[in-house]
Each structure stands twice: as C-alpha cells, then as structure tokens.
Symmetry: C2
Subunit: 387 residues, 2 copies
Amino acid sequence: MNVGIIGVGMTGFGEYWDKSFKDLVVEAGSKAIKDANIEGRDIDAAFAGSMTPGMFLSQEHVGALVADYVGLAGIPATRVEGACASGGLALQSAYQSIKSGEYDIVVAAGAEKMTDVSTGQATIALAGASDQEWEAFHGVTFPGLYALMAQRHMIEYGTTEEQLAQVAVKNHRNGALNPYAQYRREVTVKQVLESIPIADPLKLLDCSPITDGAAVVILANEEKTRRLSENPVWIKSIASATDTLALHDRESLCQTKAAALAGKKAFMKADLKPKDIGFAEVHDCFTIAEVMAVESLGFCEVGEGGVFTEKGETALDGSIPVNTSGGLKSKGHPVGATGIAQAVECVTQLRGLAGERQVKDNPRYGMSHNVGGSGATAVVTIYEGGA
Amino acid sequence: MNVGIIGVGMTGFGEYWDKSFKDLVVEAGSKAIKDANIEGRDIDAAFAGSMTPGMFLSQEHVGALVADYVGLAGIPATRVEGACASGGLALQSAYQSIKSGEYDIVVAAGAEKMTDVSTGQATIALAGASDQEWEAFHGVTFPGLYALMAQRHMIEYGTTEEQLAQVAVKNHRNGALNPYAQYRREVTVKQVLESIPIADPLKLLDCSPITDGAAVVILANEEKTRRLSENPVWIKSIASATDTLALHDRESLCQTKAAALAGKKAFMKADLKPKDIGFAEVHDCFTIAEVMAVESLGFCEVGEGGVFTEKGETALDGSIPVNTSGGLKSKGHPVGATGIAQAVECVTQLRGLAGERQVKDNPRYGMSHNVGGSGATAVVTIYEGGA
C-alpha cells in the first residue's frame, strides 16, 4: 500500500517565552488539518515525536496530551522517542500504522519546548541522548561529542574548519529565505571562524541553537490520499537503523553507520539511487554532522563531504541542494520537532511552494535524514511528488 | 495478516539496587530470545516501552540503548511512551510494524528502573503522566487523583473500602504464587484497611509499589510464527484510545472512557464478547483502578465492580479470573514494563505454563488492559492460544 502526505503545518521556530508546548502543538496541528482540508474527526490516530518533555517540562504522556489539546481525545495517540530523531521515528510509526491497515488517516507530530529551562539544564537534558553511564555522567556534552567526530574527520580526511564553516554559511543563506526559520540572516565564513569556541574545532556558529517549535504532517492511505489531495506527496520509502549509543564503541568516530544503513535500506526499498534525489534535508545539528550526512547517504564519497560542500554542490543551485529550509543550523532545532519539520520542507519543495528557496527543475524525489544523539538512531525517508 | 508471539521473558520484579536499567533489559531480552529459540540476528526491529527514563536516570534514547546492549545495534529501534501504558503501546506499535509488512520478527520490550531516585523524586516523575499545568503543578499526586476517582465511585455506586481491599487481597493471593512477583505474600482485608492512609480512601495496601523490572515479548508474522513456534499465542486484536489528560475535563470522574473505547474496539476487531474471555490482566495501579477496569471492559455492569469483586467473580476460580499474575499490586509496577509483563502473563496462561496460578479449563482467549496516567491512555489486547 502507498502512503501519502495530505497536509503539513508548522509553527515558526524560535524562542517562544509566551507560548507553551500545548500552544505550539495546537498551532501546528490546526495548520496541518486546514492544509489537508479535513475535519478533526477524520483522523484515526496520532504519533507524537518529542525527545524529553520530561526533563524540559516535567510532562510525559504527550501523545495523549497532543490528542487532547487539538480536540481529538479518544483517538489512539502514541509518543515516539529516539532523541533528536523522535520526529523521524514518529513519521515511520505513523507510516507503518497506515500500511498495516489499522488506520486510514494519521497525524505525525513533532514538538519540543526547550526554553523553559536554563541553557545549562537544556544541555543536561540533551545529554540524555548519549550514553549516560559512559558519556554524560563523565561530563561530555553534545558539542563535545561532535567535536571529537570533527577532529577525527579532519585528521583522517583533511577536512578544514573553513569547509565546516561553509555548511553554516550555506544553511544561513537558505534559512534567510524561510519565513519559519529562527535565524533569518546570512553569515560569512569569517564570522563563523571568529565566533566563540564551543568545543574545538566547533565554534558557536557551527552549532544549531536551542529552539521551541512544533510541526505536523497528516498521512493517509492511497485511496484517501488520491481522493483528498490534488497535489499529493508520497512516502516512497522510510527506513531507520541504530548504532551503539556510545561513540567509543564504534568502528569509526567519523562515519555515521546508522545513517548509512538506513539510507541504503531506503534507497533499496524505493529502488532509487543517490543521483535520483533532487534535494535533501539532513540533520546538521553541528556543521560536521552535515558533512558526515552527505557522505553516509552516498551523495559524495566518504571523506569528501568537506570538499563537496566547499565546491557548492550542496547549495541551492548545486547538484544536490541540501537543507533548503536552512537546516537545523538556521531554521532552528526543537529536537523532537525536527524530523517532522524536515518532512514539511520536503513536501513544500515537492509541491513547488518553497518560494525564494524553491529548488529548480521540479525534482521528483526528495529525502530527509534525521539523526538521534551522536548517531545511534537514524531515519531516512524518500518522498515522491507529482505522481 | 495474523501476528503471533513466539517468545517471552521477564526479570523478577522488585527493588534491584545492584542492577542497572541495562542489566534488566538484557536479562529479560536474553530470556525471550532463548524462549523463542531464535538468534539475535533473526530480529528485524525493536520497540521499547519506558515511561520516564529521563526523569529516573537522565537517560533518553532507550530504543537505541536497548538494541545496543542486547547486541543488536543496527536494527531499527524505537522508544514508545504513553506513561504507564508505554508497554502496551510498544506492543501495539510492534504489532502494526509486522502487519505493515515492513518487518517479520520484532521485539516489544518494556523497562523501568525506578529505585535509583528517592520516593519523593519518583512521585514527581510519575506526576508527569498527569496534566502538569492543571494537575501536577498544583501538588496533586497519583494516589490523590485515584482517591478522587474512588471517592466518586463510592458516592455514585456505594462501593465500599472493604470491596477495594478485596482487590488487594485477591491480587496478593495470586502474586504469592508468581515467582516473578515483588510481594509474594498474602494480605487480609483487615491488614489493607488498617494500613496507613495515603490519600483518603486509599491506604498503603490499595497502592501498587515502586518497582524495577523489564519484560520482553517477541512477535512474528504468521508464517514465521507457524514455523518457529510449537505452541504459539496469537494477538487476536489490539486497540488503544485516549481521554483528556486532566480529570476535571471528563464527563465522569469514575469511569475510564479510554479503556471502554479501546475495549470495545478490541472486541469488535476480534469479533468476540466479554464472556468469551477466559482471564484478564488489568491495570490495578490502585485497587479502585481494577474496579473501574472490570466495568469498562464489560465483565460487569458500570458501578458493580466492587460487588463483582466481593462475590469472588474475579478470583482465580471465579467466572473471569483477573490479575492471575498478582497484578501491579503484588507483582509490582515498573511503569514502562507493565504492559509487556501483562502480555508475558497472558502468553504463560495460554500456554498452560502458569503452574499454581494456572486458570482452569484451558481458556482460548485472554485479555490485557494497560492504562496510562489517570486513564488518558488505554491499550486493550486480546490473545488467542492453541489455534
């Protein structure tokens, strides 16, 4: 059975001190329901991705909470978590629930409210995505883990700080064109290189920010998609994979094996190759993450992600535009919402509605790549438009 | 497609100060893999139910963690959460993932390590299952919420404290026969009534304990189930539903609408009626919860759960044995593990391997009922043995 996306909606991403988790979910959900041109009662179930509402808000049980506050109490609702890949996994669970024949129309939501705690507390909460006993407990933070990966990438492949900076520059250029982005401003390589050091070699402008936000997509089975949607986007395939939680257990510090595995499966199930993909939203929580992502997904050879970026291949007018939305770096990274926001961007592009940041030549296929922690979870999705 | 259960395993439930979350998961997982007589490499994916490893252990991302520590890093792994119904929802997601055709053999795990924090901190963590803004923030705890439900049930239907105590007495009698139970001892009505008050009318022995534990079941598609299992148990149907998170938003304080809805759907999908069910594991986090459960599931009329219990209908030799395992009350309640432990008991009974607590006359159908929070999530599953 084919599964389509019939509606999308998201809040602006940013710091919303005047809005609650619930407010954000309701805003994104209402937009998606309106976009799908359905009524709430048409929805059979919901899956909500959220990384750690417990540590951010002392609120668990957000599956039922989402259903309740969008006025759908009664429907099956499940929270799905895989650290920063929570949104991607919620999308996958929603997809599987429709493919199983149990439901016809399903909401996949993602939401995180990160600014109700201090930056220090947020850092501790996010460290819950790493191996608590072997990593977080000893004081390592996420910038620290990605810095280790970056250092190893530089040693093994000669990747430079300038190349990493190019990721940020490109993503801010795209994000400046995205009305939903947290940072709608461009930055230069010089600004990135001169921004304050966070964890060597990563500087402030190599890092994605702390963000509030929510995103929702509505999925339907083939029959309902064809009936309800004039311009449907199809989920051609979706695959996830895992790796060891702790970095030190991996064969390589600077290759993301789970992403490579999930990508390979997604391509196989869709019977497609990297060259068939017209654009990709990848998980650039740090600039090095995007470099490793384009390698893992096969858009370039392993070790060449830095050069690939520097050459402009991933720019909006490059051979494979990456993070047309601005990515996590510029659009913002409300962790549990990110995977769903990636789906929103892919649908927007495939509908041809991305405005100034629209990729050229109406590509038929787009891809999203959502990662949890330092790469222990990865979800790769291939979307098809205009079919 | 029919989905079967080919293996089950669980740890003893109790206070394990010498074991970690990981230790518990590995123990239960190894037992289930051995019971299914398969190799780890036969497993296609895992779903792990856990309520709040974030607030208990500062550890999120436990889907990937479970896969990693049982030696299966690489497979898709997803954490599923719905407060104390996390295990039931993990079972449902695992079921749907097989029914979708995406996977053949899938692990559904449940685990919680609750004794690494103080009882006060555990109470705060558990309160994350209620509506933080409208309930927990104002100081209400779970015993408090269920006490409100109990008071209303007593006012509306004349339910007595003695009838509530009978639930505890019966479940301790069953639990005393279960080698995995936290409290393997019987209690009397007098002991329950004289135990210290927690939240009027609930006393200590009306409440389930704080528990560490893990449980795992292995599901397979029809073909693999028939090939691998000599004595398979089938998931005849599984359904979940939600209600408002906050008690004050509900039509009735003492009826669990989500459970009634999920039960109705599960019966409808299985084309069965309450009288067809041979035994049931229900979510007795407090004695009043079991009274409301037997009403919601249609084993007796609404309002008659207390009398039904008093008459012995739910005893091991009654018309519908309820909580043959000892239930949450005596077996223990490691919140995220409970829904899976219920499945383990149902499979054990349908295989005829429950020893001294075996229900008589080899029933064909069993049921589990797993609830999140004060009832905002409910999952009802019907199992079929010997088919």
